[in-house]
Symmetry: C2
Subunit: 439 residues, 2 copies
Amino acid sequence: MPVTKRTPIPVSEAVKSIMSRTCVWETEEVPITECDNRILANHLIASHDVPPFDRSPYDGFAVHSEDTLDASENSPIKLQVIETIGAGQVAANKLSSGNAIRIMTGAKIPEGADAVIMLELVKEIDVDGKSFIQIKRTLKPNDNISFKGEDTKEGTVLAKAGTVITPGMIAVLATFGHHTVSVFKKPVVGILSTGTELLDVNEPLQPGKIRNSNAYMVAAQVKAMGAAVKLYQHREDNFDSLYENVSECLADSDIVITTGGVSVGDYDYLPAIYEKLGAEVLFNKIAMRPGSVTTVAVHQGKWLFGLSGNPSACFVGCELFVRPVILSGMKVKKPHCQILKAELGADFPKPNPFTRFVRAVLTEGINMNSVTPAGLDKSGSVSSLLAANSLIVLPGGTRGWEKGSEVGVLTWNGEGSEWPWDSPLFSKSSAIKTAEKQP
Amino acid sequence: MPVTKRTPIPVSEAVKSIMSRTCVWETEEVPITECDNRILANHLIASHDVPPFDRSPYDGFAVHSEDTLDASENSPIKLQVIETIGAGQVAANKLSSGNAIRIMTGAKIPEGADAVIMLELVKEIDVDGKSFIQIKRTLKPNDNISFKGEDTKEGTVLAKAGTVITPGMIAVLATFGHHTVSVFKKPVVGILSTGTELLDVNEPLQPGKIRNSNAYMVAAQVKAMGAAVKLYQHREDNFDSLYENVSECLADSDIVITTGGVSVGDYDYLPAIYEKLGAEVLFNKIAMRPGSVTTVAVHQGKWLFGLSGNPSACFVGCELFVRPVILSGMKVKKPHCQILKAELGADFPKPNPFTRFVRAVLTEGINMNSVTPAGLDKSGSVSSLLAANSLIVLPGGTRGWEKGSEVGVLTWNGEGSEWPWDSPLFSKSSAIKTAEKQP
């Protein structure tokens, strides 16, 4: 196979071309006990007021506020306790002047009552076998009442489709009786590792070979993005069997990720496979390091991601290009990695002819975040992936960076970004400004 | 039951008393495909060098660097290609002077070779049916070789027990052949909701009643912390049956969380249940809002968390007190919520006689984080939990806070804190300083 010339495009262009093709995944109903971290497929709308009735925020006594008009420290007023209602009970009696009803936190305010006084603020007394309370302060109408709908009015849109389901949202779903919840289906990602040098994880090492680590890593990455995973491994060194394997994988998945075989080496069959499939290649060369040969194609409504076989390049490609496809398909508003600013904790002397993504350890500080390259910065490095929780983004066309420079960082742990690629942090001019600040 | 006087202790004291009792959970082996987000139970140690052999970082040709000593643009040298090896293959021949071996990315450097030249930098020619390459530049010994062990040396401790398993770590686990991984077992958390006012999530609303939302919320919270969950619901209004229910729940769980029934109302049976069990109550009153009546007890090596029935108080109690028990038991070094600084996005006019935790929306900004109270700040509020991704911590003894003040924030989404409670952000003096800065 000849060495093909490919024209590199900027990272932002590559991501843009992906975003112009994203589709929306199907939806499904899951039990409320299993909806954690899934994405809402429908708007969550309040189906009744919250609270659903006027209720007491405290344990105490429901009273007529008028009865307390003359109450004071020196001349307490006395009310007869005619009933006790627990939470979930409803008063049997209408409250009339001169009386009080003992009420628990959350219980419905009895008819006729217009205020509640806390348990701790009354004196309970017993007269001839009848219960009374003494009150030493004046209450106003509506004192200590949580009103129907004061928290949430019926019909309010509480969360939109595309929102991740948190514990707090689960409380709200339960409040409104959603024992099942409509969420986006997990798209199925088939992960196909290629490479005759790859041993499976349970095989002993052999001369010249290494264990497959990319497949397990990418599986964990896309699971964290909300996808389901099928693992495939291909080790034969021939075009036809790989073509068959990719086709099979495509039939069973919404997204096919291959690792390796995408470059211009003798055994890099993927470009020819895209061609034989008739897949539309969105790009096959990006002005970035690592992962410049990352290739993305679409075919009959499905996605083909040709990631590099180098672990770090593979990791970066997955976060930059696969993430927004999975999350946009669930209507997530911030489908890209979170962008943050941080102070570079060490010199980075290499020049950056292209945009460089450096695996890094980001520490969120009280006053300023700091970020330091993680381990060996070679695209084949495994150890650097271990500690990394972020990527330093060094704009293309910049020279080495000094410790203390402010840099843009992408992290997959945050809430995400709507579109990080326009950020001034990622532009060459930001680098120049930072450089001028150096002593 | 009489209104019992309880003595409130500071939040930090409450957490400290919990931390003095934490235990370590058991461990188990799980397949590498299911270890995502679990916590390493053993140190991860490199069982061999990475790379395991000297290898080529590029597709190219392995050569003797000496052969290229006289190579130049105008007088290229010529080497005969005697073999082609793919990744995973090992050269059959030893390389002798005047020859080259075609080599793929990741392949083992053949014996006798001491440098690699990239595919793109040579000219391949054919002479009498034999393959040759022309090289126009000088190579030095070791050029373009990834050396055995340069990434990671055998025996290196790559991650300690107590570290969360990320996709990057999974790549490393696979590299070293861990097809199963030793992780901490998920502690079993029994969640027992009490309250006669509670309907289950699938029941229609009834006068005076509300659906149980706390149980599902707390279940999602502790699952996110790494625990397994069993749900129980108790609605009878009598001490004996609740005692029986708590006992049963204790027998089946490592941690029992009850919601409701922990205050001083007529139906708050939990204090008496702790007493009858003979459980040691660590505290039953905290100088905080919401959740001042949160009670924590230990009994025969198990934990009893008596959280308030108010959703927000319940949420806060779970994050502050249950989180570190679950995570310390997995040797996690930062078992508490992450602390961050943020600018208050709205006035908070209420005074804070005690430390106040305000459910809030934190937005991580490029230059400064901002934080705004979420929805209605009442402890019974459900809607405020929906949007909240953090808690603003307002130190006790402070008056209202103005928009623009710098405040301390706790969030459950970050990497955690080792001990946030000593932070100057949580001290009253920080509030005073901030106040002075106001115009």
